[in-house]
């Protein structure tokens, strides 16, 4: 027993001389000199955006595919099960987002198997936007021939009319936060090979996704793209009456431009864009103050719900028959009110 006591005493004396042991990290010993750097780093902004992507029950296959495309485009998203769309879906959605520890949400709500509404919300304290989604083309369309790395950070381009009005500004900020992949996200890749286009035309936000590469950049589908270009050049894709194919033509045109740059190697190289998809068009309906609810901050004054449009069409069709019946009765009344004079030559040939 006596021996042990001695040892303890000895230990108590020593610590004054030994320098404090540096903290251990995964990569080795943390140096003291580095510590202040880390502190400044923590002050530096770090984007920790996480997007919950989900949809309502009874969604259309086309819209479901669109949702899956979004999942594959946004590496910083979490996909969740379908949600029953009820009157109280706002509360459940908020709960769900919190449960999955996300900071924003894209909720695809399909109604009547026809109309797709997209909720874009910042959680937990808003704002949130409800869009009507039009003109949906998914990535699976064979006409969209591009391809890009999964998880590479997109470049977001906005047309300058996003700065025109307050609600567009707000939408732009939300889109930047939701669609931009956070820097150094663990699923992201360190290259930039695609570009998102957000453009306001006719008060709708149009979304496009293009793959971009320099003309001589070698990539795994090099031969394939050569082929695409060949086809394009030989045929110009024919007389394409419809919108889709026409626009595809544009997406395939080797839109080439020169990058003016001082770099000796990459001097005067050509940039090529090929559309990857998906494409859709967002029509903002309302902007709310909270997430999935709250005070309405903006209401689209031009918006007509698709239900109303369909009702109008139906009424028009119904009107057709009513008009016919009406015309018939009117004619009858007219004939009754002013009868024809008896024809004096009526029985001329009967004798």
């Amino acid at each position: 027993m006596g021996k042990k006591r001695k040892q303890i005493e000895a230990e108590v004396v020593e610590p004054e001389e030994i320098p404090e042991r540096p903290k251990r990290t995964l990569l080795g010993w943390k140096d003291k000199s580095q510590v202040p750097d880390e502190e400044t780093d923590s002050k530096v902004f770090r984007n920790k955006e996480k997007v919950l992507i989900t949809c309502s029950r009874r969604i259309n296959y086309r819209y479901r595919h669109l949702m899956l495309n979004m999942v594959s485009i946004l590496p910083h998203c979490k996909k969740d099960n379908k949600v029953e769309s009820k009157a109280t879906k706002g509360a459940t959605m908020n709960e769900l987002v919190e449960l999955r520890s996300c900071s924003s949400c894209l909720f695809f709500e399909c109604r009547k198997h026809k109309d797709l509404y997209l909720w874009m919300a910042k959680c937990p304290n808003g704002p949130s936007v409800k869009f009507l989604v039009n003109a949906v083309y998914t990535m699976e369309e064979l006409k969209l021939t591009g391809n890009h790395l999964k998880g590479s950070r997109p470049i977001l381009t906005f047309s300058n009319n996003f700065d025109k009005d307050a609600h567009w500004k707000l939408l732009k900020e939300m889109i930047i936060q939701i669609f931009g992949t956070p820097k150094e996200h663990r699923k992201s890749k360190p290259y930039h090979d695609h570009v998102f286009v957000f453009s306001i035309v006719d008060d709708h936000i149009w979304f496009r996704n293009y793959q971009c590469f320099l003309g001589d950049a070698v990539f795994s589908l090099g031969t394939f793209n050569e082929l695409a270009r060949e086809v394009w050049e030989e045929r110009q894709w024919g007389t394409m009456v419809s919108g889709f194919i026409v626009s595809h033509v544009v997406s395939l045109t080797r839109t080439e431009c020169e990058i003016s740059d001082k770099g000796p190697r990459e001097d005067r190289e050509k940039m090529t864009l090929i559309e990857v998809g998906p494409r859709f068009c967002l029509n903002p309906i309302k902007i709310f103050g909270g997430s999935f609810g709250g005070p309405t901050l903006y209401e689209n004054p031009f918006f007509v719900s698709p239900n109303q449009i369909r009702a109008l069409e139906k009424r028009k069709k119904a009107g057709k028959f009513a008009k016919k019946v009406k015309a018939k009765t009117r004619r009858k009344m007219h004939e009754l009110s002013n009868p024809l004079e008896p024809d004096e030559f009526a029985d001329m040939w009967k004798e």
Binding site: L149, I155, K169
Partner: protein, 291 residues
């Protein structure tokens, strides 16, 4: 924009064959794109500018968040884009993307960030290989279709061309012939004028083509052959036993091959009156007939 200006013209060239198919494919899209809008804004819509800007302030990132975090580029949209004109609309989008990427890459380069992946960097892509295989197949079939159409068009054109060439050749030949005849005539005239005697030789010179209608055939299809003759006039010149030969010839001309038979084999008034074949009670003739 030069590229896009040209396009509408180029589309008209070819591809009538594909129109039906393309139209059917596009239906789903055009149907969705129709969009009704109120002509004038509804009066009681809400627009709370201040709180919108408030919210914007709330959610926006701090000032020190650099451009590298947002990677957003504003692009000037020069002119108003007509929504319903698909081509110009898409062209505008492409131009926006193009200018945006140019600017972004310049910025990235100035930050010394490598933005293009090296050629040996393989990683998961958004579209799977099997999907891209499908896309490739589609493009290939498209290409094949184009080639076939091209071939068909070429064949058609060459056919047309060959016809033309043939016609021209014939014309040329006729012309040459005419010229030759003319030259001969000329030569003859010259000879006459230069004082050659119109004598014994000149009779020989009375060539058949001199009367203008030179190598025309006679109007009869078979000159020198009787209309009912099937042997083409060969029956007339016979050798051997004259009596037998004659009969044979006659029969040949009557029943032999060629020409119309119908009227020849029917009885006429003359043949019924002809009783040469009746030889008083001796039974000959048709052996097939039963007794």
């Amino acid at each position: 924009m030069g590229i896009f200006d040209k396009e509408p013209v180029m589309f008209e060239e070819d591809g009538e064959e594909d129109r039906g198919e393309e139209a059917s494919e596009s239906e789903s899209g055009s149907e969705e794109e129709e969009d009704v809008k109120l002509t004038e804004p509804s009066k009681n819509s809400i627009y709370n500018r201040d709180s919108l800007l408030d919210k914007l302030g709330d959610i926006s990132w701090p000032e020190n968040a650099g451009w590298i975090h947002r990677l957003s580029i504003n692009v000037n949209q020069e002119q108003e884009v007509d929504v319903n004109d698909d081509l110009t609309r898409e062209a505008a989008f492409v131009m926006q993307a193009l200018e945006g990427t140019k600017e972004a890459f310049e910025k990235l380069k100035s930050m010394k960030i490598n933005c293009f992946r090296p050629p040996d960097y393989y990683a998961e892509m958004v579209k799977t290989d099997s999907h891209m295989e499908k896309v490739k197949g589609k493009l290939l079939s498209e290409k094949r279709k184009i080639e076939e159409a091209e071939e068909r068009r070429k064949a058609r054109e060459s056919k047309k061309l060959s016809k033309e060439i043939q016609a021209q050749k014939q014309k040329e030949r006729a012309k040459q012939k005419k010229e030759e005849i003319e030259s001969v005539k000329k030569w003859r005239k010259q000879r006459q004028q230069s004082g050659f005697a119109v004598g014994e030789k000149d009779a020989d010179m009375n060539l058949p083509f001199e009367d203008g209608k030179t190598f025309e055939r006679s109007n009869k299809k078979r000159p020198g052959v009787a209309p009912g003759d099937r042997s083409g006039g060969k029956a007339k010149r016979g050798v051997g036993n004259p009596n037998k030969q004659k009969k044979r010839e006659f029969r040949n001309s009557k029943f032999g091959s060629g020409g119309r038979k119908g009227l020849k084999k029917q009885n006429t008034a003359e043949t019924t009156d002809d009783i040469r074949s009746f030889n008083g009670g001796k039974v000959t003739g048709n052996k097939k007939r039963k007794r």
